[in-house]
Amino acid sequence: MIRVDGQGSGNSLIQVRGLSKTYRRGGEEIQVLQRLNLDVDKGDFVGFMGPSGSGKTTLLNLLGGLDVPTHGSITVAGDEITHMSGSKLTQWRARHVGFIFQMYNLIPVLTAFQNVELPLLLTKLSKSERRKHVETALSVVGLQDRMNHYPRQLSGGQEQRVTIARAIVSDPTFLLCDEPTGDLDRKSADEIMALIEELVAKHGKTVLMVTHDPVVAARAHTTLHLEKGVLVEASKLEQGVVAGGVR
């Protein structure tokens, strides 16, 4: 159950309470997020939509522990991350978050296998265990036969698949997708969304996704709209609104 009213059960995987983020630019304060609440359960697939500058990516950065809020708290699987030190937050990210970026952000000088292996280099897994995990992740995204290819030898859709494999290889608590299809043609975008849906449906992954594209957003269980830093609407039309929360 995804709720935005701050009245979640307390057992949600992700709990956001009173989250605000303010930037100072040239002496002026810009409030990007304002007292935002959010509850996301394990296995949920939520899409965030909104115009440019509405705070979608800022919210994603805060949820992923890449940025710290001005006020409020974020609790993930019982860990309150807003007061963690920089190094603790880094360790937490390695364990709990899988990132999927619009521009793929693969390391161009590493093969698909080596790119996917990167998060595992931070674990204590042996070389053979790492290989097994990487091969599994690449087979989930259908690229086991391309593991020795460099990013330049792959299409945009394939590159994004490698990014997804990198995001899931360490079995993180949840995935954060920032415009995952933003740089792809429609066909490739469909394939990527089908893959993300499969991760949610088959593998029980929790996915939070930012997108501009209503067609892509419609693939999520729930779409939340951010406007001027406030979650103003929750929609997944066929599922209806329940007491400020949605399902």
Binding site: R93, P108, L118
Partner: protein, 383 residues
């Protein structure tokens, strides 16, 4: 190191840049090593000078001589163990480019004062008995392909009518230390004295004396200079190391020059490699941001950048030292004795390598700290 494939791949990301950076390191290291070798060549006399040896020269200057009678008077001073004298010959072997120092030596006392020059006893005994005999350092013998028994003609440029003096090469000396001076050519002072014009007869270019104890140096030096004060040949007595240092300074302040050039080389190299690393890191801003996003710590990011710059420095350094190792003996021969022998020691190679690593660390430090402090959010926004 789990990240070695990433470090290795990053190193070869821009091959031309890598080759140029390693090349600049190598050339700088060749220059640095060459300067160090030249400096060492000039200061070698100071380093190997005996603490218990004094040198007496004419107070007016090194080219002025002193009466041979000073030897016995000096020998009588308490604290003086042995005294020997040398005289500069300044001859030419075949061509002026073939320079090596030739000294008329006091055969009786030379070995007592300079035990570090090793001549086999049989060769020395032959030399002592042979008035036209000569002993030469192994380096000079090798340079001209001389061997014991050879007849060596030396053109006389300073003394008397005889145009060419011929010597029998009776022996070849070595030194205890690998970097000792093995370039000298010695012959009998008596032979010299018999063949020079009257004005030069019975004179010594300089005296070298060995003391009973280095503690006596100041007292003995003062006694000698006081003894010959107000004579026609006043003396200046100093320790052998001070004499060698003064001799080296005739060429200018070599150490200062070399330090200055070395510093310029160091900072130029630092700027070149620092700039290269900064560009390299800036190009990878988004990749470093992704690494940080997936959980690579700030310290590890710094470490990755530093390892990269140190590896470049090490490769460049090793290549430079290899080139120096190959080139310096060739340069030394090509200089034909114009400079003291240029010897590249293991210590210099180690110093060169440490120098390279230091430059590597220093050049990677600023870009590395920048990458370490980089905000992931800002870096990803720049993509």
């Amino acid at each position: 190191m789990k990240f070695r494939s990433l470090i290795f791949a990053n190193l070869f990301r821009k091959k031309v840049r890598l080759i140029l950076t390693i090349g600049s390191f190598a050339i700088a290291l060749v220059l640095f090593t060459f300067l160090a070798v030249v400096n060492s060549a000039f200061s070698r006399g100071i380093d190997i000078a005996g603490a218990d040896r004094l040198v007496i020269v004419n107070r007016i200057g090194l080219i002025q001589t002193m009466p041979i009678s000073y030897g016995d008077q000096v020998r009588a001073i308490p604290g003086v163990k042995y005294v020997t004298q040398d005289h500069w010959f300044g001859g030419v072997y075949q061509d002026e480019k073939n320079f090596f120092p030739q000294f008329a030596i006091d055969v009786e006392n030379h070995r007592k004062v300079y035990p570090e020059f090793i001549v086999p006893d049989d060769q020395w005994n032959t030399f002592v008995k042979d008035q036209q005999g000569a002993v030469v350092g192994a380096r000079t013998a090798k340079r001209f392909g001389w061997k014991a028994g050879d007849r060596i003609p030396i053109k006389n440029t300073l003394y008397g009518p005889t145009k060419t003096w011929e010597f029998n090469l009776d022996g070849i000396y070595h030194t205890e230390k690998a970097d000792g001076d093995e370039s000298q050519f010695w012959f009998h002072w008596k032979h010299f004295d018999e063949n020079v014009p009257a004005a030069v007869k019975s004179t010594a270019g300089w005296y070298i004396l060995k003391l009973d104890s280095p503690d006596d140096a100041v007292r003995v030096a003062k006694t000698i200079d006081a003894k010959f004060a107000n004579s026609t040949s006043e003396t200046k007595t100093e320790t052998e190391s001070a004499f060698a240092a003064g001799f080296a300074k005739q060429f200018g302040n070599i150490e200062f020059l070399i330090l200055t050039i070395g510093s310029v080389v160091f900072f130029t190299l630092l700027l070149v490699t620092g700039n290269t690393m900064a560009i390299s890191v800036r190009e990878r801003t988004s990749e470093l941001a992704v690494l940080k996003a997936i959980g690579v710590t700030d310290r590890s990011v710094l470490f990755l950048v530093l390892v990269e710059s140190v590896v470049i420095a090490l490769f460049g350094g090793l290549l430079g030292l290899l080139l120096a190792w190959a080139a310096i003996p060739v340069i030394s021969v090509a200089l034909n004795g114009l400079l003291p022998p240029l010897l590249l020691s293991k210590t210099m190679l180690s110093v060169g390598l440490v120098f390279a690593v230091l430059v590597g660390v220093a050049s990677g430090l600023l870009p590395g700290i920048g990458a370490m402090r980089m905000s992931v959010v800002n870096a990803l926004r720049r993509v």
